[in-house]
């Protein structure tokens, strides 16, 4: 991609309305634009990151055996009356009346919708276990939307729903998502810690939030320091094996959100030098809630003995759009965003210091074409901006590697390669620069 053909409306000044760094940087980097309170358009740079995160989330859901569906944004109120949540959900639910005076709503979550699909589609225990997931825009009418995409009203969520015949099987489904989440966040360059959590309006008796530590976190969290270094299950983990050992290893040490925190237990179980108390951002939340929805909604299958069995369910959420902000909160400096390679909107920026100079243009075009042929996501800055502005923009938008091409260097067959992390610069031939960044990026893409 060439910058002059792209759409990158960067801002030189920090917008006043943005309170936290991720919101400020996303606005400044031209990633998003507010369209109404808590509602954002994703501009090309932001959308590229969002899509990469979405694809990693999808990939790990598939690996864990979940199957993708897509439910509509608009749901019928009648469905929610079946579970009894329509009145209970409160003002966060965006309620809508259509031209025929039917009650609709913009889905804040989809337990009812998926249960209704499942009860009609599955009749026998032989079709279990199943886990269906959905990556779709949700709406929660927050009374005070803030922090950009971190607490927006319209947001992209991955929500998965498991259906099992027994509690024991449901626990195995829960463990598969637990492991999938450890892998998902690690692949996004995040260290997320599962913490025992309150179940809130979803209900149920077993729940974990996946929390990343960041100064701007919305709540206080407490955990054992060892969890900051916990082992991430490998890509060849067999999801049909018993995953209890992995979950046990992660849950045997103290970790709790504010709501579930027990100060006495924390002191008793965790040595003083291993006690971490910090601010945390929730990036995922998983629930086991048994028959809370299947019972009132009649989601049953025929069991092995011919008797009808009400299914055991769980649900598993990842805030896909929120993750864009969360990653920035965890990875930035004074110059701007520092994208982990797997979610970087572009992996390499080629900075043309003299656009219009034939020899310089030719080197940039050649690098562009060869990087693209190597499967690298590349952005060439072919604009007429001054060099300082170009450097500042690439720092701001956080591209992991820059190759700086100027007319003088071109004469001596030299370009400069700069890494966003650490800021190392090295001068080398274009050929060597190409080989170097391709190698570095291929290495960095496989984080887990």
């Amino acid at each position: 991609m060439y910058l002059t053909r792209f759409f990158l409306p960067v801002l030189r000044e920090t917008p006043k309305e943005a309170e936290i760094v991720s919101h400020q940087l996303m606005l400044r980097a031209g990633m998003i634009k507010q369209s109404a309170a808590g509602i954002y358009s994703w501009l090309p740079l932001g959308l590229k990151v969002l899509k990469k995160i979405e694809q990693i989330v999808r990939d790990e859901q598939n690996r864990a055996g979940a199957v993708e569906v897509m439910m509509p944004t608009i749901q019928s109120a009648d469905l929610w009356r079946e579970s009894g949540r329509y009145e209970a959900y409160g003002k966060e639910m965006l309620r809508i009346t259509d031209r025929q005076e039917r009650d609709l709503l913009f889905g804040p979550t989809a337990e009812e919708a998926i249960t209704s699909i499942f009860r009609d589609g599955v009749k026998s225990y032989k079709d279990l276990p199943k886990n269906l997931y959905n990556i779709q825009w949700k709406f929660r009418d927050e009374i005070r939307p803030r922090f950009g995409v971190m607490r927006g009203r319209e947001f992209l969520m991955k929500d998965a729903y498991s259906f099992d015949l027994t509690k024991e099987a449901a626990r195995a489904s829960y463990q598969r998502m637990f492991v999938a989440y450890l892998r998902t966040f690690a692949r996004l360059g995040l260290r997320a810690i599962p913490m025992k959590a309150d179940t809130g309006p979803i209900g149920g008796d077993l729940s974990h939030e996946f929390i990343i530590l960041a100064e701007t976190g919305e709540s206080e969290v407490f955990c054992h320091r060892d969890l900051l270094e916990g082992a991430i299950p490998s890509a060849d983990t067999n999801f049909e094996d018993d995953l209890s050992p992995i979950m046990d290893a992660w849950t045997s040490k103290y970790a709790a959100t504010e709501d579930m925190h027990d100060a006495d237990r924390f002191k008793k179980e965790v040595p003083e030098d291993a006690r971490v108390s910090a601010r945390g951002i929730e990036v995922g939340h998983i629930f086991f809630f048994g028959t809370k929805y299947s019972e009132p909604m009649g989601c049953r299958v025929q069991g092995p003995d011919g008797q009808m069995v009400t299914l055991q369910m769980g649900s598993y959420g990842v805030g896909v759009s929120r993750l864009v902000g969360a990653i920035i909160e965890a990875s930035h400096d004074d110059g701007g965003i520092i994208w982990p390679v797997p979610v970087a909107p572009f992996e390499v920026a080629v900075i043309n210091l003299k656009a219009g100079d034939e020899a310089t243009d030719a080197v940039c075009a050649d690098l562009h074409d060869r990087l693209q042929a190597a499967g690298i996501d590349v952005l060439v800055d072919d604009s007429n901006e001054r060099a300082g502005g170009k450097f500042a923009t690439m720092e701001l938008i956080g591209i992991p590697y820059q190759i700086v091409v100027g007319p003088k260097g071109v004469k001596s067959n030299e370009v400069e390669v700069k890494a966003r992390i650490g800021g190392d610069r090295e001068t080398m031939a274009p050929e060597a620069a190409l080989a170097h960044v391709v190698e570095e990026i291929n290495r960095a893409r496989v984080l887990v």
Copy 2:
């Protein structure tokens, strides 16, 4: 993918509520499930097709130089008041009031939203031309939703918006989308004919609908027979060249929708044996409307002479979810759907006639793994259903190639390969079957 892990709730009987064949087949094949009038969930099989169509649409937008953004589903009413369309749009607009009593709406289209983004992000003629596109769920509160996804209320639309300094440049932008659409529909296995069309509530003075012919089409269309064989611009078309010759070739012969039809001209310009009058389905619609939105909304840039210039705009829609139905209308038989390879949910089905038989299972697993390694989308039917049911399901869901593996054949190192189109069957060694389907599919993937 193995069928026992997938979610494919096929129906043996045709649901009474479905009037047209695509709606019937999508319900029977377990592709969609209605959740409210005109609102559908996409089950795994349907979602796979939807995603493949979306990706082809995206790919051709990118090729034509358009840049992807994502606007929210919920828009502010104030935006629509700026253009004057808020009151004018009528009851098809789903109007919403949030908890703070602010007027919102579920976007039926996004001319206002994109104009507001553009006017803030672009200041100079040097940043033009630009074309931004968006693939997002839209809502139109049809008084009588029907025909499944063909006339639903919530639907997935690709909408692109071009911004140019002059009418002449805007015409070139229009031509780029015209050519992109010819390629898009051809890649989907469709023969779409551009027809002069009415502009409706979008406005403007130049507009074409892209129409495919099908008995169940919603309106009557008229065209010269030669257009059924018009040349599709090749993949190496340079979108920076003058594309007038391509557009002229396609628009020089008579083609009009009902609204624009002129019976006298049709008779005069088209020889009797070349007159086609048929039912048509609209799959795309493009508009040039000049300053209709940019003028009231103040979308201007500084021109070369320093004066502010109001931009010339066009918009370009493709009904992505509607296309799933349109392709089925164009490609089915009594047995079910016949997917063109580029949009098939799976390209090959491996039918295990005796799941549980060790040797048969092993051949199926080997075919699965090797097809997957060759980049082929494969579904193995490893269920316990009887053979007849398995064949009927694969016919119904329209997988282009089947490899039938039974215990007898395995003993003599034979499987049967069957093509969905034409129904040709051939017995050969598994090795040969693998090579054959991989070759056929790779050939069929590149339609244009």
